[in-house]
Amino acid sequence: MYAQPDPTGHFGRFGGRFMPEALIAPLDELDKAWTDAKADPAFMAELDRMLREYANVPSPLYEAHRFSEAAGARILLKREDLNHTGAHKIRNVIGQALLAKRIGKPRAIAETGAGQHGVASATACAYLDLECVVYMGELDTQRQALNVARMKMLGAEVVPVTTGSRTLKDAINEALRDWVASVDTTSYLFGTAAGPHPFPSMVRDLTRGIGDEARAQVLELTGTLPDAAVACVGGGSNAIGLFTAFIDDADVKLVGIEAGGDGVETGRHAATITGGDVGVLHGARSFLLQDEDGQTIESHSISAGLDYPGVGPEHSFLADTGRASYVPATDAAAMSAFDLLCKTEGIIPAIESAHALAGALELAKELGPDSTILVNLSGRGDKDVHTAAEYFGLIDEPVVLEQGVEE
């Protein structure tokens, strides 16, 4: 039986806590609070009820017949795009916000890149009556003005981060700086299965419903386990959520699809495991994109949600042990798969999830027509309509959202 991490939060040589001492005691408290909450049937029943009644979980499994025909393999989609707020992220955030209520901290902070985790956090905080502050790189607030508006509508304060590269990694830095000063009253709703212990395993615990549900749904539909389970990997929360249920099923290939950007060989990508090296970033040892001196390198991807130079430590561990494999899909491959799903199934996927679809198309060639491939459709593409329309040349003029801001 697979049992990771160890009690100190290490997945083999990965993970751990590389954090200021000021946050160690709070992280210990969080670890204990989550361990207690997990073991409390009343808490877990309440979380289940919220996910069911509010977040539309469990999400359905959908056999994509026309996409399968084009792919040349049987493709089953786990429809996380149908969850409230449009992605798997709501599972994680409702769990962390409910834990914040249990601990009794009235204020929550979160970081966001494209804005999806920020929107999910603002949603959960409105639902559970928590004050919500979202840190977002200034560049991202400009690129994702609609999501900034969404968060504000939901009552959150959005703080543009003007330091460093003004993107997701800097938003995490700024959220951590806030947290060091506010930890007595504030919970940090971390957006992915990365960061210092206990975040990677806590986020996994909260997202693993994806795979637990899908495993049962595939068995019910096909009578057997899939040949492969495929998910996109940025920080890696949807992928670890899918993989966890299958880790002890040795015959099920686990494949994580990283953002290949312009191609890993160009250096303009976000394929952390494929193209990075082991190091320490944002509190954990894992693969990351770094230069010769260990300075973080900016990542590049058409998908804002995958545009992060780090990755969760458990993925590094699964890559290291060979239990999962990680391969890149370029922007072009992802957008081609995006287009195919739109045209064959009438489903507009998130560009993040389109990377998983691109990976599944490649895998189908390898595994052949008798194979069954489970793909986590981690989010819907409403937020990406503008990016995709621009990519495919469907918009002539920039859309003016408000005075001075173009998306």
């Binding site: 751990g16 590389f18 460093g164 990694k169 700086r177 001196d293 300075q295």
Partner: protein, 265 residues
């Protein structure tokens, strides 16, 4: 006995606190960062912290972030930091590097320790490396005779204070506030309490940092600490200066003011 141990023997004998000054290597340029260190030692700084500029400084406030950004944009490399340490150690002041962990791990922990010792460096301050994760560094520091300055915080439990002090050498770095680096109007009320808790579990010298920016504040902190640590206020001198010589003069004056404070007179 390390150079830092000897410093604290001297300052304790003189019934004063030691003055620790931080400046980042390569800010505003490699050459000027050396001059700035020389100016602060000239003004009375006893122990120099050379900052290694890092892309993701989560413990630092806006002042040190801005300086690190500028140093990185100017092309500062890890080997430049070692050069600055060599120049700093040549002033006679014990010199340590203050660095986030990844650049050390990337350089190679042993290789970094060897280069630091070779340059005359006295040790490392590691704001995001806790003793729990520091096995490789503890071994390397022992091999190369370097001090390990770990941090404690007001939130540290008594058990963690004892464990961290036990693992530390040279001195223990007590962060007096829950927050990031940066000058503050008032010194923290949490400082004296944290140091008192530390005294119960260790005889090692305790340095107090975060928020000290002038002689009066230094005097307050020197009343209960073995060392007063100042960073952002020194960096500010360079950020705000109209030209090079004005910046260096401002650093020298601030160091003199702080030094008068730590003399406890």
């Amino acid at each position: 006995m390390s150079a830092i141990d000897e410093l604290f023997v001297r300052t304790r004998a003189a019934n004063r606190a030691a003055l620790v000054g931080y400046l980042p290597a390569g800010f505003p340029s490699k050459e000027l960062s050396v001059k700035a260190i020389e100016a602060m030692v000239d003004g009375g700084v006893d122990l120099v912290e050379v900052g290694l500029p890092y892309s993701d400084p989560v413990m630092d406030g806006p002042t040190i972030q801005a300086a690190a950004d500028q140093a990185l944009r100017a092309g500062t490399r890890t080997t430049d930091v070692i050069d600055v340490v060599r120049a700093s150690a040549a002033t006679g002041a014990p010199t340590v590097v203050m660095t986030y962990w990844n650049p050390v791990e990337r350089f190679g922990v042993n290789r970094f320790a060897e280069a630091l010792a070779d340059a005359g460096g006295a040790g490392l301050i590691t704001p995001d490396l806790i003793p729990d994760e520091a096995g490789e560094w503890v071994a390397a520091s022992e091999q190369y005779g370097l001090d390990r300055i770990f941090l404690v915080a007001p939130s540290s439990t008594d058990a963690r204070l004892a464990m961290t002090a036990e693992a530390a050498s040279g001195f223990v770095y007590a962060t007096a506030v829950m927050g990031v680096t940066g000058a503050r109007e008032q010194t923290s009320a949490l400082g004296p309490e944290l140091v008192a808790r530390l005294r119960k579990v260790t005889d090692k010298p305790v340095g107090v940092g975060l928020g000290v920016s002038n002689g009066d504040q230094a005097r307050e902190v020197a009343a209960f600490a073995d060392a007063v640590i100042v960073g952002s206020a020194l960096v500010r001198c360079l950020l705000d200066a109209e030209d090079e010589s004005a910046g260096l003069e401002a650093i020298r004056r601030l160091a003199q003011d702080l030094r008068a404070g730590v003399e406890r007179t």
